[in-house]
Amino acid sequence: MKKIIYSTILTLTCSVMVLTSCKKDFTEINTDPINSPTSTPAQLLAPALVNTVGAGMLRNRNFNNELMQVTVSLSDADAQVFRYEYRRTFADYLWNSWFVQLTNFKDIYTKAGETVTLNKSYQGIALISQVWIFSMLSDTYGDIPYTDALKAREGILEPKFDTQKAIYLDMFAKLEEANTLLAANTSILASSDPIYAGNVSKWRKFGNSLYLRLLMRLSGKAEVSATVIAKIKQMVDTSPGTYPVMASNDDSAILRWTGTGAYTSPYVTNVREQDWRAPSISSFFIDHLRDWQHPVLNITTYGKGGVNRWGIAQGKSGFQGVPSGYLPGAGIATESYFYSSASLVSSALVTNLQNDPLTGMILNYAELNFALSEAAAKGYIAGSAENYYKTGILNTITTWLPNWPNATASTTVTTPATITDAAFTSYLSAADITWNNSASLDAKMEQIHLQKYYALFLVDLEQWFEYRRTGHPVLPKGAGLKNGGIMPARMTYPVYIQSANPTNYKSAVAAQGADEIYTQVWWQKP
């Protein structure tokens, strides 16, 4: 009996010892069996770009397009964006979507800087992408966390806000660094890059074109304009070789949706067809296109299956829109609208923007030309404002209709159209949009920005940013407008920031002004 007792006690003591040493397996047991402990820049780049562009597209559609009179919702309800009134809940989406993508770009930069995975091109691409996103965030909200942002891993859970000025100056430094890094032309994996398929020199051109976009945004801000204008001049006139910029539509930064897997347009995966068709097109947007006889509206020569290139349906009396900013109860009925992906015309699926590959616009060649046209008109640079203006108009057309002036079906095109082609000149004069060099600067600005407005169609919130900066193109104002009839100057900060980052939120509001849509951001103030 005693023997049994002792042997049992011995066994138990042993098992206790085994138990205490059992935690040795724990490292293996608590290793995630699905997620990867490491990643490479190549693995991270594509999803980060896709998710950033996707968020911008969705807000382009239901925010920018409503404010900027591309579309008009048919609603008598409260808080309609097109009436300069939007719910605070609008604020969360871009803030929440874009900041977490910045984490990926920051990580790409860090990883590409490590010895094992050293790649200057990924570093440069990561910097350009960070600047691109940070600038959109700052232009949307004003002061935002920047220096302290993306540092949760370093323990900063309540980041300080930086002033927009400080952010812009640092972004310029980042773009300089990117330009240098990309000059080395280190190759990258084509499949990791859904924008340029691994063409590093195009990334460099994109970076510098973005640089010009942001410099122009500050060019009217008194306290920095001198340096900014000098920089523009250096880039365009003095050292264009050091700062290559986009030279054709091929260089445009567009994330082209192939329609398969992750490259399905967010307009297909996130917008219901009936919702896609629901807003009417505004008169401001369509009247110009119709009056100019813009080829994107043309059905017979440049359309397909009875539908034009932009997939715009006709209203009750042809291509006609509804006025924006109307009063509730005005009894507005729908007119022209965008066809959705399953829309049928004479029992065939139609061309439509919902599943179009070109809606992933980031920065296109036409936009750059209009920026340069403005710079030339204002005397910042030496070139011809007229030529940049014309190149902008032409490339807006050829972005969508590469064969123009030939018909879509034409296969005989050998050289792209130029601004000296007769067809182009006659288009300008027929549309009555020929450059007027003797006009006032304000009239020139209106001319440039009215065209630029169409170049910026589908480009995140750029139409809105440019309008806030320049006041062009002049938009008609309806009687139903709120906010004193003044274009909202920003989005408010997401409501949860008041709880999640309260101290810094309060300081930011104290520094910038009330957290309201009418509070101007730094570059907007004179």
């Binding site: 009996m1 049992t8 138990l12 206790v16 138990l19 205490t20 059992c22 935690k23 040795k24 397996d25 724990f26 047991i29 608590n30 995630d32 069996p33 699905i34 997620n35 402990p37 490491t38 991270l44 999803p47 980060a48 896709v50 998710n51 008598d76 309800a77 409260d78 808080a79 719910r87 605070r88 809940t89 803030w95 977490v100 990926n104 990580d107 935002i144 966390p145 993306l150 949760a152 891993r153 859970l157 980041p159 897997g261 992750a262 995966t269 996130n270 219901r272 067809e273 919702d275 509730p328 109860g329 009894g331 009925a333 949860y496 008041q498 709880s499 999640a500 309260p502 101290t503 957290d515």
Partner: protein, 1092 residues
Amino acid sequence: MRNNTEHNSSRKMRKNSTQKFTDYWRRALSPILVALLLLGQLLLSPSLYAQNGTIILKGTIVDDENGQGIPGLTIRDNTKKFLGSTNDKGDFTFSTISGTALTFTMIGYEPVNRTFTRSQDGLTIRLKPATDQLNEVVVTALGIKREEKSLGYATTTIQGTQLTDAVSGNWTDALSGKVAGLNLVRSNAGPTGSIKIILRGENNLGGNNEALVVVDGVVINSGSGRRTANAGETVYGTGSDNMPADYGGGLNDINPEDIENVTVLKGPGAAALYGQRGANGAVIITTKSGSSKRKGLGITINSNASLESVNRWPDLQYEYGQGLAGAGYYSYGAGPDGASTSGTSSAYGPKFDGQSFYQYDPATQAQGKTRTPWVPYTNGVNSFFDVGQTYTNSVSVDGGTDNTTARFSVTNVQNKWITPNTGYGRNSVALSVNSKVNDKLTISSKVNYTNKFSDNLPGAGYGNQSLMYWYIFWQPSADPNGLRNYWKNGQEGRAIQYPFSSFPENPYAISYEFINKSVRSGITGNVQAAYNFTKELSLQVRTALDFSYEQREQDRPYDAGTKLPKGSYRTQNIYSQEATSDFLLRYNKKVSDFSISATAGGSILRNKYNKDEIRADSLIYPQLYSVSNSAGVLVSVPDKSRYNINSVYGLLSLGYKDYLYLDITGRTDWTSILATPERTNNSGFFYPSASASFVASDFFKLPKTISFAKVRASYSQVGSGGTTPYITSYTYPIANGGLFPGGALQNPLVLPNPDLQPLLTTTYEVGADIRLFNNRLNFDLALYSGNTKNQILYRIVDRSTGYNQTIINAGRVNNKGIELAVNGTILQTGAFKWSSTGTFSSNKNVIADLNGDSSVVLRTGPVAGGQIVAKVGGSMGDLYGRGFQRSPDGQIIYDKATGFAKITDDVIYLGNTTPKFKFSFGNEFSYKQFRLNVLFDAQVGGVAHSLMNYKLVEQGKTKNTLPGRYNGIIGDGVNLNADGTYSKNTTTTFDVDSYYRAQMGADNAEGSTFSTDFIKFREARFDYTFSKRITSSLGLQRATIGVYGRNLFIWTPWPIFDPEFGTLAGTDIVQGFETGQFPSTRTFGLNLVIGL
């Protein structure tokens, strides 16, 4: 203007609702008050009616169960003077002074106290067999059985019969109102109705507050009891995602018929020996075993049928139909009367005034050819819901010899739920065997097998695939029967017809084509052996297994919304297994007046979970659900987790003279969850506990009125590392659901914590158990206080940190509370007996520290900045959101120009989502073979935001949106003048839609935040037990027939269905934000028990 005066501002409405609520209380409390008065009177009655004079009493004393006379029973008076005894037939005759308190006592029976004021003959006094309350044995942690009086912490035991009196779809619901300090959070999401059990309030900011659930020594929370959510399904599914169905878990599947009893160990002290997972208390379920007392076989047949129907509806209006802004006409599509008005979801349209309009014709699925009468379909939308039916039949067989006992039971449940084409079936088998192999060795085993299957479970929440979403969006002017033909004419199987706004889906299509299937098999069981080396030393070795395998399937037809235009087929195979092996070495010794018991043990726990999901989100042929019909690439969504916990523990119990007891425990856990792929050094943690119990009634000479008095005190600590693995190392998940060719990664959205520490809960508790008047009136009181530190939190952070959430160790929440349970026999005369029970509990917590953060966002609601925020000085469950702008004296500020209420930009405090008090009051009346049981319970002091209320108001569907249509309305409040002063609001607005949207709509969380106070008539049962004579003549051992009801009435200011709602949130059920809840139901049932 009549409407204007009728209308009140929201603040006033709140006041009104408070007033209404006071009325509820007055109405509901009155029976309780009456009962209390009666109780007082009865207790006083003997002295009031006392008279002097000798009386003679004659009669028989019988066993209450079998009606046979009890011989040899002694009768004494209040001075313990012997007055007489019964003869061998149980008859007695004796004389005494009128008004003397008499006691009839007999070993094995509960004593009866009676007082007589006149001579009587032919008395029948019934004695109930004693349940031996004083030496009641309680199953404590690790299955150790202890005498209740030796325990230094609070426990409550519920007998199995209390759970089957009024059978509920989910047996846990029957715990409601029976245990002080027990909170149930219900999913309200379909027939399986998952319930989460919280004991003593939430003290853990991380939401990991659930009590441990132990079935026959098997912890089932993280095995078969785990609620598992399908990836990407959320209750706020407005992106046309699949809505989550409540697939239930192992806890729901336990057959209440098999439950012997449930012991609730409330504090962490009670559960200290369960280790880290017992930090939130434990619910210990013991299933029935065979009995050796019975001679031969015992066969019990239990048959139960119940019907359930909706017990409460929102107050829908049937005065105005579809339309906007009081439109003058209605037209389905454009027509002779004008442009279409049928695109809206709102019912702010024309009044039902005998007009005729061009309306929807279900036959042609287009505008009718002629004008048809414009009439309301009163209760049309409500008639969509059926009467639910549940049939439960079980047979159990038990018996035994001196050395071996066994019990076996089979149960079948069939359920048809209140929405069309939903329900489930369940078969369960339970086996229990206990064999004494010899004097030293006992081997026993319990195995429960469950097979649960459903052909369709409804999707819950707010999104276009949800039935309740349709409920909100349906029109009072349309007949839902017109939706029964749910395919578009000529496009059967390919396109779904829905006549109005494009947001909701056809509810019949959802019911018959949007299918969520599940088949789950689970086994929980244990095998244990106990060996007594000597009288003092014994060893118990046990292995427990909790295993379940579930196959789920979601079928979606063509045209199932934006994301699934070509339908979808998804399957999940879920494998879950938790195995625990443990040993306990026990040494018991009695030395003179001291008893010593020392226990040492250790356990190994292995938890594994695998979920493999395959998705085909586009189908080649409609309505053909198989992977081979996938039009695109099959997407796989894997989910795996694994963790081990190893533990050693010890327990030392000391007893002195049966009245003083001391327990000391210590335990160390090592959990793999706290390890990282690099190190294991903080994965182990130790925690102690001590408790003492003092039975004062055995030590002091207490007044006779006190039959038993015990005081207890305990101190305990419990640590926990949680049950979510892989949160200590930074890893990259697959990007965008694996849709990128060649595989792409992204940074995680939740930042892990490589320095994760265990949380630590410390609790102090004192309590008393006092029984008066020969156990006729019993009190059990517990007071506790403690804190939880180093909580493992998923903190929602400013996304500019680069992440959505970070996992932190932070916070200290101080928690204190009181629990009181009272039960007493109010009246016992002859065959009539009335006994009552009551519970009261209150828990208060204060967030004392958040590691320097001023506030931590724990959960965000769907609209109006609604969020649950933890702030230092605040409480768990504090609800914040945007609300009314108010003047300094609290009046609502209205915009002078528009007449609409102005909404704050900032979030404001709206209340706390956890009720402050809960109480219950139950009564049992028995007379001869009849018994009546009623139970009420209530909660006070919580609030919640109702998404359905806001949405119904915005769409003008509820009666509270009628005032002001369309003669204008003036909000009751003030205007802010340019000079900063306030003046009474005089602006009349005719834009009633916008007015109500400002009052209660999407931007105004305060407007749709309501009190969740309630009083519920929770249970009622009336049954009849056939007398021995009848059953014997039928050859039965016993037979009972009963009718019962559950959730019969709710008195509450909450506007929509049930204030006791919970919301599915991934694997959790949360409080605070109602998000399209299903209706609550009232159940009526018939129950028959036959013992052969």
